[in-house]
């Protein structure tokens, strides 16, 4: 995948197993958000394949992609809430567009989802009146409104207090257990990552390491260990490496099906 002549994610191949919480780790700028956008079909890879639910989406037209996206829910890193609509309208929006539920049914569902992310009495607030952490949680609630088969979450924990972090973590785990929802979570939060993940994809400069958390923890690779030990000095070193990784050229991207 490349933005113009700037290549990110070069020769990356990874799979996100269905019904599992996969966590994507990697330094800032290593292309984590880019992976989510590729899966959502918002970006098109210059080479390689992106397979979602057994279907190669790289060759689909934009209108065919809308069919695929109805089974996806995505929480953007910055929330991407519609800023001319209130919280209630934002959350009602996907259901008003795609379901035949009545106004009251929608409202009930909205309150349910808001409660699940630990928010109440925010119906009439506008997105600009929310704090960063509130925006994240509203955005997560919106991604969950339609009970998607695959949930893409970009950094749900950044900017949250420890209590909310625990709450969101528990929520994601619960939904994954009860509905068997496939989740791809981008996160910097190592402890919660290691607790919730069934599969970890670690983007390192020039390579990808993946496996279940236990396997990664006992990995021989020094870079992996440094990344996982939350040692800030070590993390910074990895970040320094990341820049070399970004400067590659156009190259294939391959992604296994979720």
């Amino acid at each position: 995948m490349a933005y113009g002549s700037r290549a990110v994610l070069r020769g990356v191949s990874c799979a996100f197993p269905p019904g599992t919480i996969s966590v994507v780790l990697g330094g800032s700028g290593s292309g984590k958000s880019t992976i989510l956008k590729l899966v959502g079909g918002l970006l098109r890879a210059q080479a390689g394949q992106v397979v979602v639910g057994g279907r190669d989406i790289t060759s689909l037209s934009e209108s065919q992609l809308y069919g695929v996206r109805r089974r996806l829910g995505m929480m953007f890193q910055n929330g991407a809430l519609l800023d001319s609509l209130s919280v209630l309208e934002n959350l009602s929006f996907p259901l008003r567009e795609h379901s035949r539920l009545t106004r009251d049914q929608i409202k009930t569902r909205v309150h349910e989802r808001l409660a699940a992310v630990g928010l109440e009495d925010v119906d009439d607030l506008m997105p600009r009146e929310l704090s960063g952490g509130m925006v994240k949680r509203v955005a997560l609630a919106r991604a969950l409104m339609q009970d998607p088969e695959i949930l893409l979450v970009d950094e749900p924990f950044s900017g949250l207090d420890p209590l909310s972090t625990k709450l969101i973590e528990a929520l994601l785990v619960r939904i994954n257990r009860t509905r068997g929802m496939t989740m791809i979570v981008v996160s910097h939060h190592i402890p919660s990552t290691m607790r919730m993940a069934g599969h970890v994809v670690l983007l390192l400069p020039g390579s990808v390491v993946q496996g279940d958390p236990a396997a990664l923890r006992s990995s021989e690779d020094a870079r992996v260990r440094r990344f996982l030990t939350e040692d800030t000095d070590a993390s910074e070193q990895i970040l320094a490496h990341t820049h070399e990784f970004e400067a590659g050229e156009h190259a294939p991207v391959r992604r296994g099906g979720a």
Partner: protein, 258 residues
Amino acid sequence: MLRLLRRLGRPLGKVIEQLGRIAAFTGHILAVTVHPPLRLREFVDEVFKAGVLSILIICVSGMAVGMVLGLQGYNTLVRFGAENSLGAVVGLSLIREMGPVLTALLTTGRAGSAVTAEIGAMKATEQLDGLRMMAVDPIDYVIRPKAWAMVVAMPLLSALFIVAGIAGGYLVGVVLMGIDSGTFLSSLENAVDFDDDVAGSILKSVIFGTLVGLISTYRGYSATPTSAGVSAATTSTVVLASVSVLIFDYFITALWRV
């Protein structure tokens, strides 16, 4: 000669490419227009923003232009002893030219630029991508109501401008210069032909509304998603829309004699 052609060739190619994109964009808007849902609420909101909020500026400007026309017309006509036709002069220039053209220019500055800025900002904050991920086409939900609102609002605003202008001309001619009120009005009434003048005036403003609506939405939609990109797009909307209104005005006038 060849070198000249080659030198002209590149920008010309760019222009043609741009025109092609705008044509595809227009086709896309038309395609989503014939599909349900109607999105009446969004449309009404946009007509309100483009139309109702422009009423004051249109009335004030129309009045001022009408008064100037009254004064200039009177001073010219009085040399030929033809001041009794002041109503015809003021009315015809407003209906055939000044009304549609000046309304389009004012609306470009007042509403067209706002449309571009709003869409550009939505793009920069990933709201358009957010819509796509919710399987909602941004051209359908965001662009379509804004473009159509401009087409509908323009003739209404132009009519308002003309009425305010005639009032201004009346004020100067009858109240200040002392022309008989009946003379002024009957000269106006006898000169204006519905099929020719009024229908032509409506045709002009509908075409201008389409131009401003398309250019302002297209510029916002294709803006570079940064603050500088959005501001450049806004400027370019004002320049491009104003110039094309003036150029189209000539051709409409020449072709349909209105």
